[in-house]
């Protein structure tokens, strides 16, 4: 049976959604339109002199080999963050789902990191992994003889920012996976168990496909997170370095716009970033969603 509330009034439904629409327009659409407008301009920092330059800001970006390299870095970073973030939290959620005693405590502890601001998460991991004083560095060197120095080693720097970003996002993913797992009917799993399917088999043939809407949703959210929300982590740790090895697109937007007061260039980059995320989301909904079983 379908439950649906029908409004008789012609204006009431619109009035009720109006605040939400107003907020979206003012805080999301208006800045986005402004970013597009600024991306066609060349302006000095104080906004005293403004020239309309058309697509020149974009042309300059695509001529810049380093900007193009930053795409690769971003792709690698987002893939690593989204994939390991999902894998680890799925594992944790499956485990927590099986815990009988003290389940609340486990769950609460796993949700905690979400309350930590990205910059704090960055600083925290930067301390643990600090080249000369970090505890983990010390252990790595002492036990395995690994020379850990992300200040100069680009791959290690990437690993560090991925760990910090993933750690920050695990709680969120965990929460959704756990809810997803709990909504899977026990009877299905029990039936499979009676048929003699191993826990591993049960997971891959029953649980995982039934979780696919959740996984899909989280994939979108995580990729958007990796693209947009991680500059706090980067700013607090590597600041894009060493060289350009962790200079992801959104960090460059922040650096050029906020730190270097280059509004035109920074806006052009945000517009490009906006289109990438729109494209990614469309692709995800069009192609991947078809394979998702609701």
């Amino acid at each position: 049976m379908e439950k649906r509330v029908v409004f008789r009034s012609a204006w009431l439904p619109y009035a009720l959604v109006a605040p939400q629409i107003a907020i979206t327009l003012v805080f999301f659409f208006w800045p986005a339109v402004q970013a597009v407008w600024y991306s066609f301009q060349l302006q000095d920092a104080f906004g005293l002199k403004t020239q309309f330059v058309g697509l020149q800001n974009f042309a300059a970006l695509f001529k810049d080999g380093n900007y193009l390299a930053s795409f690769k870095v971003t792709a690698l970073f987002s893939a690593l963050v989204a994939f390991s973030g999902l894998a680890i939290s799925l594992l944790l959620a499956t485990m927590a789902d099986r815990v009988l005693r003290g389940a609340m405590a486990y769950k609460t502890l796993l949700i905690w990191p979400y309350a930590v601001a990205p910059a704090i998460a960055g600083v925290l991991w930067a301390f643990l992994f600090a080249p000369s004083i970090g505890i983990i560095t010390y252990v790595l060197k002492g036990w395995w003889g690994v020379d850990w120095n992300w200040i100069l080693d680009g791959d290690q720097a990437m690993l560090l920012v991925v760990i910090a970003s993933v750690w920050k996002q695990i709680s969120y993913n965990f929460l959704f996976f756990l809810a997803g797992l709990q909504s899977i009917p026990r009877s299905l799993i029990e039936a499979a168990a009676i048929d003699g399917a191993s826990p591993f088999r049960r997971f891959w043939t029953i649980v995982f496909p039934l979780l696919s809407p959740t996984t899909f949703f989280l994939l979108v959210v995580n990729i958007v997170y990796a693209f947009f929300d991680t500059f706090g982590v980067i700013d607090a740790t590597t600041q894009g370095g060493p060289g350009q090895s962790t200079n992801i697109l959104v960090y460059k937007v922040y650096h050029d716009g906020v730190k270097a007061a280059d509004l035109g260039g920074s806006s052009a980059q945000s517009v490009i970033l906006m289109f990438i995320v729109i494209a990614l989301t469309v692709v995800q909904f069009r192609f991947i969603e078809r394979k998702v079983q609701y």
């Binding site: 920092a45 060289g243 270097a260 007061a261």
Partner: protein
């Protein structure tokens, strides 16, 4: 602090209701002990007279303050005084309608003002080519060379400061052989090894007097001498004689904690080193290459200056001018210098500090001024002024890191730095036509 200011404001309100005080807003980026010293200056000024009141506001780091000021200017509510870091100088200077040059302010307000009273290397950084001071130097430091004598003694080396890079490498090898892990490190790689290095060896960082002569400047940091120096650092890094610490002041802690034996870091790091008390430190001039003619020249400053923003009322600018005169007094400068480690900005303040016996009791504290005034500054050594140098510095640092990590050779990296840097300069030039 806030209560104190409030109390002072209330006191004034009750004491002199007839005459309202003119407020001067001052935005700054000095946190911690430096912030207290800065507030001390404002309070001292406020107590010294009744007409004006300087109100200080901490606005975060240098880039944050600048961004906040830009936003407030666009909204028509700029502060009167803004502390801007040295790399933002070109941005401020180009913003002709947004700032009021200091020399002009002083003239309009009828305040006595003599630019010759200030240290030439300090004012050079903040003056136009005609010698007119555009902003008021406030907190200036320079890069110095620190050694930890304990480490030298432990390695059986006489604790004498290496003077040249050749000597430094020889010493570094001995220290390394004795088992010292971090031999030499540096803070602010671009500021120390490109900007100060160029001034110290009297070679240009860019054309047009390091950009002071106009926005149509190009970088020249890929000269043979630059390549040779950076390539030397790359070699040292490979041999473990140079430990890279990061783009800002991370090296300060590495030296202060006793991890590294030698470091080229800011004069401003001394406070922390003394507080940590883990080293038997000694400071001296930056090392130089002795086969370069005319070296060592003089080093250049880092730190920040005070810019006067447009948009206020006439009587408010009178207050600003009065305050700047107050700040330039020798006694005030001497206090600030002693308390913070920044250099005194006037020659009179330097003399006064010397006469007070401060340098005899605190050997090495006069090093920054001596190094800054080692010789009369040339076109190559009076400072630099490149547009969007926040981005420019990042580019240089990225390329240096590629060399230190052994990924690029020095020539290729510096060529790329010049190429990428010039693109930034051209964009700034077009935006500020």
């Amino acid at each position: 602090m806030r209560i104190k200011i409030l109390a002072a404001a209330l006191g004034v309100a009750f004491a002199a209701p007839a005459q309202a005080q003119v407020e001067v807003q001052w935005w700054h980026s000095m946190g911690g002990a430096l912030g207290e010293a800065l507030n001390g200056l404002a309070n001292q000024f406020n107590e010294s007279q009744k007409e004006y009141k300087v109100v200080t506001t901490f606005k975060g780091t240098y880039p944050e303050s600048l961004t906040a000021a830009i936003a407030s200017f666009r909204a028509g509510k700029a502060p009167h005084l803004l502390q801007v870091f040295e790399v933002g100088t070109a941005t401020m200077m180009a913003a002709k309608g947004a700032v009021k040059p200091v020399y002009q302010l002083m003239k309009e307000a009828g305040e006595p003002f003599n630019p010759k009273a200030y240290l030439p290397t300090v004012t050079g950084y903040y003056s136009d080519t005609k010698g007119n001071m555009l902003s008021m130097p406030f907190n200036s430091s320079t890069a110095l060379f620190y050694i930890d004598k304990n480490k030298f003694k432990k390695a059986g080396i006489e604790p004498v400061q290496p003077k040249t890079w050749k000597e430094l490498i020889a010493t570094a090898e001995k220290l390394k052989a004795s088992g010292q892990d971090c031999v030499y490190t540096t803070g602010w790689p671009s500021w120390v090894h490109i900007e100060n290095f160029s001034a110290w060896h009297n070679v240009p960082i860019g054309t047009k007097q390091n950009g002071m002569g106009g926005f149509d400047t190009v970088f020249s940091v890929n000269s043979p001498l630059h390549v040779r120096h950076i390539s030397m650092l790359g070699d040292m890094a490979k041999k473990g004689l140079f430990t890279y610490a990061g783009r800002t002041n991370q090296a300060d802690a590495k030296f202060a904690s006793g991890e590294c034996a030698m470091a080229t870091i800011s004069a401003g790091a001394l406070g922390g080193i003394i507080k940590a008390a883990k080293t038997d430190w000694q400071i001296g001039f930056l090392p130089y290459h002795d086969d370069v003619k005319g070296a060592p020249q003089n080093s250049i400053i880092g730190g920040a200056s005070l810019w006067v923003m447009n948009g206020g009322k006439k009587e408010e600018y009178k207050g600003v001018a009065r305050f700047l005169t107050f700040l330039s007094q020798p006694e005030i400068q001497m206090e600030w210098h002693k308390k913070t480690g920044y250099v005194p900005i006037t020659l009179a303040a330097y003399e006064a500090t010397r006469k007070s016996g401060f340098y005899d009791q605190n050997p090495g504290r006069d090093m920054p001024v001596r190094q800054l005034t080692n010789k009369a500054p040339t076109a190559n050594s009076k400072g630099l002024r490149f547009g969007n140098f926040v981005q420019g510095r990042t580019v240089i640092e990225e390329e240096l890191e590629a060399v230190f990590a052994g990924k690029k050779d020095a020539k290729a990296a510096l060529d790329d730095a010049v190429k990428r840097g010039n693109e930034i300069l051209r964009q700034f030039e077009t935006a500020n036509k």
